[in-house]
Symmetry: C2
Subunit: 452 residues, 2 copies
């Protein structure tokens, strides 16, 4: 039976097939249907499966379900969640709700939740899983295996075993396969090399992504400053945070504040709010263009033809600026580029701007020449000087665009601000307003005594 048929049966209240599906598939079935049906489907599952399915539901549905469950059911599920999933749920709760559900946790889970909440929001601590397996180096492999069988169920947590000292300090990590590949009578100390890669609780999530990529790991231990092992971070969480970071960056580039939920799950009001903020900031910035244009109203009334090219000219500056900003911001986000490289970038972008300006300037020049000589539009007797004005303005504006587009992100980073969030409005406003000034100044020089 395929998923579509199962879905139909579910809508009719027949939940038998859910039992044989992977927890993530069950969550997929229960997500988009009316809540009254999905909660029934959820409750039809045995308890052990419920707590496997629960973390795959989206956050809004998780909250709704927990509220509809009996206290006994909720207690079971909340305590059975892995610590990272539990943390994500709890950190989305507020006020009375938060304290109500904290009361349902057992002492161990309550403590670990409180510990995690003490760390900054962008720190690795907020993502750790506190379910991990430890042994001492004096144990033999056989003893370690025995310990594993007694204390760990068949979960991802048993893939890597951590060797710790008596006071809980991390000594090494051993992939469980090494137990299989070696003689059981060997001691743990014989099969490790004492070299491991770890994260600190206070490390930034960003740095965790970089470390996973650099060392090609699937799980990394997380310690406090005394090197005491407090949890592990798994690569699936890293994949999620990398995707969230990129989504936020992409939305920032598009001039939207990063959304907290997917587009379809974001309420209309919150969507408009996130967009309005930026649009208003950009709009107020762009108001300066009206002011700048006001200074040149005499020139425009003398030579209306100058106004015709205003949109073309400033959009070219804006495009070259956003190209440069995008390249630099992404390169900095991936640590390919640091603030120190500013001089390398500046030289490169001035030269790029010159080249690109020459190309677009020539096209602009040719456009006017063709339109004039094929009589598509009459730019007047001084069309050649006008074409020259466009040519030099484009070079100037595009160079200015690449330069400010590349330098503003670096400057913002230097000032410890997030370049992805703040660059777009600054670059757009600066390039547009300055672009107008460059254009009309060049026009004043070239066209003085003829049409101006």
């Amino acid at each position: 039976m395929n998923l579509k048929e199962i879905s139909k049966k579910i809508m009719k209240g027949d939940f038998g097939n859910l039992l044989n599906l992977h927890p993530s598939e069950v969550a997929k079935m229960l997500g988009p249907i009316p809540f009254e049906i999905s909660i029934q489907g959820f409750l039809s599952l045995p308890e052990s499966k419920q707590s496997k399915v629960f973390p795959y539901l989206d956050l809004l549905l998780q909250k709704k379900m927990i509220k509809s469950l009996s206290k006994v059911e909720a207690t079971f599920i909340l305590n059975d969640l892995s610590s990272d999933d539990r943390f994500i749920l709890y950190s989305s709760l507020r006020g009375v709700e938060l304290s109500t559900y904290i009361k349902l946790l057992n002492e161990i889970n309550k403590d670990s939740l409180h510990d995690i909440l003490g760390y900054p929001e962008d720190s690795v601590a907020r993502l750790i899983n506190t379910d991990f397996a430890t042994i001492t180096k004096e144990a033999t492999i056989a003893e370690a295996i025995d310990h594993l069988r007694k204390h760990h169920k068949d979960s991802e947590a048993a893939n890597v075993i951590y060797v710790v000292s008596k006071d809980g300090k991390l000594i090494d990590d051993i992939p469980v396969r090494r137990f299989v590949l070696n003689d059981p009578s060997k001691k743990v100390s014989e099969i490790f090399d004492g070299s491991y890669v770890s994260l600190k609780m206070t490390d930034k999530k960003e740095d965790a992504i970089a470390k996973f990529k650099e060392y090609d790991r699937t799980v990394l231990p997380v310690t406090n400053n005394e090197n005491i092992l407090l949890g592990v971070l798994t690569v699936d969480d890293v994949l999620d945070i990398a995707e969230q970071r990129d989504t936020k960056q992409i939305q920032n580039f598009g001039g939207v504040e990063g959304l907290d939920y997917p587009y379809v799950k974001t309420s209309f009001f919150s969507l408009v709010k996130k967009r309005a903020t930026w649009l208003i900031v950009l709009f107020i910035g762009e108001m300066l263009t009206a002011t700048a244009m006001g200074y040149f109203d005499v020139e425009i009334s003398k030579a209306v033809v100058l106004a015709l090219f205003v949109p073309l000219i400033i959009s070219s500056g804006g495009n070259s600026g956003s190209q440069a900003a995008t390249l630099i911001i992404r390169a900095m986000a991936l640590n390919e580029l640091t603030i120190k490289d500013w001089w390398f970038v500046m030289k490169r972008e001035i030269l790029s701007g010159l080249t690109l300006g020459l190309i677009l300037g020539s096209i602009g020049f040719i456009r006017i020449a063709i339109w004039q000589n094929l009589h598509f539009y009459n730019y007047g007797t001084h069309w050649f000087l006008l074409a020259l004005t466009i040519f030099f303005s484009l070079i100037g504006i595009i160079m200015w665009g690449t330069l400010s587009g590349s330098m503003i992100p670096i400057l913002l980073k230097k000032l410890k601000l997030d370049p992805a969030t703040s660059s777009a409005p600054l670059v757009a406003t600066l390039v547009d307003v300055t672009g107008l000034i460059i254009y009309f100044s060049i026009a004043a020089v070239i066209l003085k005594g003829t049409i101006l």
Copy 2:
């Protein structure tokens, strides 16, 4: 000794410390220094370490090094690479170079390379690792462990064992921890459940990312259409392709063709080429604004004041368009939204556009009223009608921006084109040109008989 001190020693030709570093750290040390020194450092390592370090070097350096190695050294390294790393290197080679280095491979590696090259570039096949461990279900755990010890070294490949039939068809995957957690006399068939998640060779890389996220796996088996196991895909490669996809998307949003290498590694010529293409396309599209403005030259000469607001008006349309496009494109890339949702999106975006338009329109109106009444600028006796024109134009243009920004990506996807690549220039041109027409048409209606 910290990495900085080691780096200093390396520059002096003292490579002793490289031995104790993690392969990725060695690669980090050898990457940015002059090639003559880095090749010496590389050759100072024992062969087994060389082939561990090699995959961490960046692609350009890999190629340079292989060329500088003796035939014997190159043969060893090329055959010792994991199949996915080998494939990445070979697929960057062309012509004589490619055939020269293919000759250095042994028969097995040559065959698997050829097999992989037969699949499309965006398929999972291009990323698989052909080093994996298999057993039959009739074996006992003890036999399976024995087999592992004989045939597999201590590498990631031994983390999951695949149960296959006699003709190589995939039956199940068993994490190696399950061997440890169960009694060695049990048969393999007793500890598996026959339910597994797998990828097909022809699956798109995109779909692989989604599957890893959905099932929270660190490794997935890859089969052909007959379900015969051909390789495995590991999550570290998935992390890389997700990041590459996002980088390309981000660059596309910024109006740049996706770069093949990081910004700092991309040659000046190729950087300018990738940027020029888009700038020219956008420029030619934006030329239509000059044509559109040409139609209204009489209006502009009668009321120069109208020209002053052109940059403000069209940038608002552009910004609201790019906001909408960004949100929709990203939501589609993450499968949160499909083409079928177009009506939901359209209703939402029209309403968003109206709300945002009312907000910005009011700000624009107030701006003119204040400037006029505080004598910052004199818009003439009919300033109130001008302010009304700006108000209604902003509403119209912003609604048009959100509508086309959201619908063009969906339309492009429907036409099987990549929305991330093609939306930006289309949206920008359409919104700017149409924006001008909306603005001057509204002006014609409101201002007719007064200043027009």
